[in-house]
Structure formats: C-alpha cells, structure tokens
C-alpha cells in the first residue's frame, strides 16, 4: 500500500514539476493513440456502414474476419508489421520501423476491426422499415447516412471508445514495432514496462496514474457526448 501512495506522490510531483520527459511521453501517447483512432474511425465507420447496410456475396466471410480481428492479439499484429517493415522486408525502404508511424499502424490494425465490427453490428440492427421510412422522407443518399449515423450514435461512440481503450492499453505491439526509444517512440505503456523492469515501481505507478487519467478524460468526454441528456 505504501508503494501505491509513494507512486501517487511521485506522479503528482512529476506532473507538477513539469518533468519534460513525462510530458513528452504523454503527448506522444496522445498523438499516437488519437491518430490511430482517428484513422480507424475514418476508415472503419464507412466500412462498417457498408457491411452493415448491404448484403453482398462474401459478406459473411468478411464479418468472420472482422470478428477474428476484434480478438487479434496485438503482439500478432506487431509481429507481422515488424516483418513488413524490416529493412529486408517488403516495406523496408520506407524506413518506418521503430517510428511512431509504425506504432500507429499497429494500433490501427488492432482497433480497426473493433470499429468496423461494432459499427456494422449497429447498422445491421437498424429496422429495415426505418430505412424505408427515411428514404420515403426524401433523404438523399448522404442525408440517409447522416440520419442513420445520428440514430446509431450511441453504438458508434461505443465502438470508438472500445477502439480507443484497446489502443491506449496496448503495449506488446508498440514495444515490438516502436522499440520504446527514448524521446521518440516511448509511450506510456512501453515506458511502464521498462520502468518495472528497471525496478522503478514508483515511476511506473506514476505513469499508470497518468495513463488512467488520460483514459478517464477521453472516455468521459466521449461518454458524455454519447449520453447527452435527452430532452423529455
């Protein structure tokens, strides 16, 4: 218990003293996670909508792969991205391994299926009569989509929250493809692992508080957006 208390004090001290490194790690974490989730959202929601609304041959297979992807262990994603980005690998010439871009790629791979899967599930649940009613009201294709997105906003924000949770929590792939390089690819989770292995539990605990605070703030924002009061 004493350790947690010490860690808490350390966290406050590090934050208050404006420890530049901690600040940088936190910003990198934010930048990496938010970029990844932004890309996943921009790609994932339209794909989820397409899969959810339309029936086409191969839909079932695609959904199976999406569902497998939702449970894909991040280190598996990390391994394949590492091999892809190796100097000797197919994308080696891009020099992306051990950069934040590589971490973002890995995080997109693990969060995209979640967003596609949960979005398509939400759209599959829309009453076909509702679809017809919206069409009948004279909505253009785009307007139809906007209305449907509004109707499914609870589920879609839940999808984004779930994706973000996974991305913030992820460590294995970030370690593998990012390399935990100081001042560069070090993010909160990888530096926690490192601090633990160095025996600096107080620093690790401090980092965990920062990570939890971030997760809390972001989830809080999204949840309050999701649960905005209904005017009854």
């Amino acid at each position: 218990m004493g350790l947690i208390y010490e860690g808490f004090l350390k966290a406050i001290e590090m934050l208050l003293s404006g420890d530049r490194e901690i600040y940088e790690i936190t910003l990198t974490t934010l930048r990496v996670c938010l970029s990844a989730i932004l890309v996943s959202t921009i790609i994932g929601i339209p794909l989820g909508v397409l899969i959810g609304l339309h029936s086409f041959p191969g839909k079932k297979i695609i959904l199976i792969f999406v569902n497998i992807g939702m449970g894909l262990p991040p280190v598996v994603a990390g391994l394949y991205i590492t091999m892809l980005l190796w100097r000797s690998g197919p994308l080696g010439h891009l020099g992306l391994l051990y950069t934040t871009h590589a971490i973002i790629m890995a995080q997109i791979v693990v969060s995209l299926p979640i967003i596609i899967g949960l979005t398509s599930a939400a759209f599959q649940q829309i009453d076909s009569k509702m679809l017809m009613q919206i069409k009948a009201l004279g909505a253009t294709k785009l307007q139809r989509l906007v209305i449907l997105l509004k109707e499914t906003k609870l589920a879609i924000l839940a999808a984004i929250i779930a994706g973000l949770g996974r991305v913030l929590a992820e460590v294995g792939a970030a370690m593998m493809v990012g390399g935990n390089i100081r001042g560069d690819t070090r993010i909160l989770t990888t530096s926690m692992v490192m601090e633990v292995s160095k025996g600096n539990f107080d620093v690790a605990i401090a980092l965990s508080f920062i990570l939890m605070t971030l997760a809390f703030i972001i989830t809080f924002l999204l949840t309050s957006l999701q649960q905005r009061k209904r005017r009854v």
Partner: protein, 281 residues
Amino acid sequence: MKINRKIFALMTLFILIMTACSNENESVEGPTNEPQDMILATTTSTQDSGLLDVLIPIFEEKYNINVKTIAVGTGQALAMGERGEADALLTHAPTAEEKLVASEDVINRKRVMYNDFIIVGPERDPAEIQGMDVAAAFQQIFETGAIFVSRGDDSGTHKMEWSLWEKASLDPSGEEWYLETGQGMGSTLQLSGEREGYVLTDRATYLSHAGNMEHMEILVEGDDELLNIYHVMQVNDRKYERINREAANLFVEFMVEEAQEIIKEFGMEEYGQPLFFQYTE
C-alpha cells in the same frame, strides 16, 4: 445540431493536439540539416542501468545523428545484426559475437567495458553457496535442487549462465527447480525474489533493484569466470542494404574513446561504486 457542434469541437481538439505535437517535432529537427537515423541494438542491461541515457545524447549532439536504441536481449540484438536490421550492436556475449565476425555479418568489433556477474540468492541460502567459486556454487545448487531462476531468453546473461553449467558438466534443463522466465533481467530478478531462488545477474541491474528485494543478497562474486564483457560493433554494410555505415563507425569510435571517461564514473554517485569498468583493447 447540438451534437454536431460537440463532435466538431472534439474533432478540432484531436487535430489541434496532433498538429501541436507534430509541429514541435518538426521545429526541433529543422528542414536543412536533418539528422540521420542510426539503429543501435543493445541489451536491456545497458538501457536499464541508465548508461545509454547518458551516452547517447552526447553522441547525438556531437555528430547530429539520431540514435534509435532498441533494447532487447543480446540474442535478439545479435539476430538483428545478422539480418541487417540494425546499424550498430552493443552486446555482451563474446562467443556468439565472434561467430558473427567470422560470418562477416559484423565488422569493426571492439571491446568497450565490462561489469561483473554475481549470483544472488535468499539470505538464508538453502544451498549454502556463500563465498564459493562459481563452479562449486552451481554444483551445490544442482545437487540440493534449490530453486534457480534463469533468464531463458537467449540473452548475454543467459548465454553466460549456460556456459557456466556446461563447464561444470551439468544440465539443469527440465529440472523442476530450474525456472526459465523468458524475460529481461529486471523481471527475472524480481521473480527470483518472489520465489526465493538463486539467480545469475549483472551487478548493475541488481544494484538498481536491491532496494525492492531486501531479503536477497549477493552470495557469489569476484570470480574471473564472471566477467561480463561488452563489445561494440557495426553491421557489415557490404552484406546488407540500408546500413548507415558512417554513423555506425562513428559510434564504435565514440564508445572506445570519448565514452570511456563517462563509463568510468557512471554509477558512483548513486551507488557509491561504478557499474561498468573501462576495458578497451
């Protein structure tokens, strides 16, 4: 309408944060003399001890090179060299390194420093190895079947441990009391503390963890067999593509010259003793 605005605000926030961060990076680097990247594959012990955190910035500053330090086990670090995935290596497994020299995967290999391995174990010392030489201590642990915790990760420390078992003609693999963690030195030390097992570790890592495991102590030390010798080398750019030869070469020279002054002093302040000793050729 109301949520639209909220979503918009949130998106703007996302984008602001991201552009803020990326701008910062760009302004630091500057477009004109962009530093070149160099990948250094090294062992967790050099990173965990904090030595590289001191050395690397000096090197980066001096040569305008951006070093990407990938801290992994020596086995993996050497494998990265063998695949041409790194530019320079800093490792401590002489026998394995010599193989890479022979196969011309690495060149310009130079001795840098050493620290020493020690055997740490529980205070009550169930196998009664305190003060013995290494061979006798390993024999004793083997015979009493006291818990021994191994890295089991093909790291330099693991390789060292194996060569010690081999010299004593013992094979502990598969024994019930022989635990392999497959993790870094820090985690392995902590596990040995929890299980009250013996463990072979480098002194630097132990010193940084000693505060968290007061019931453990150094039982065997000072044997010549226990020297942990570090070499720096560069990956052969004739054999692999995209190797930054120039930077790697500068790094090797830096480690055997300028870095030596810092290595000598490193750790004195915090632990009252140096963690590494100069040992150039």
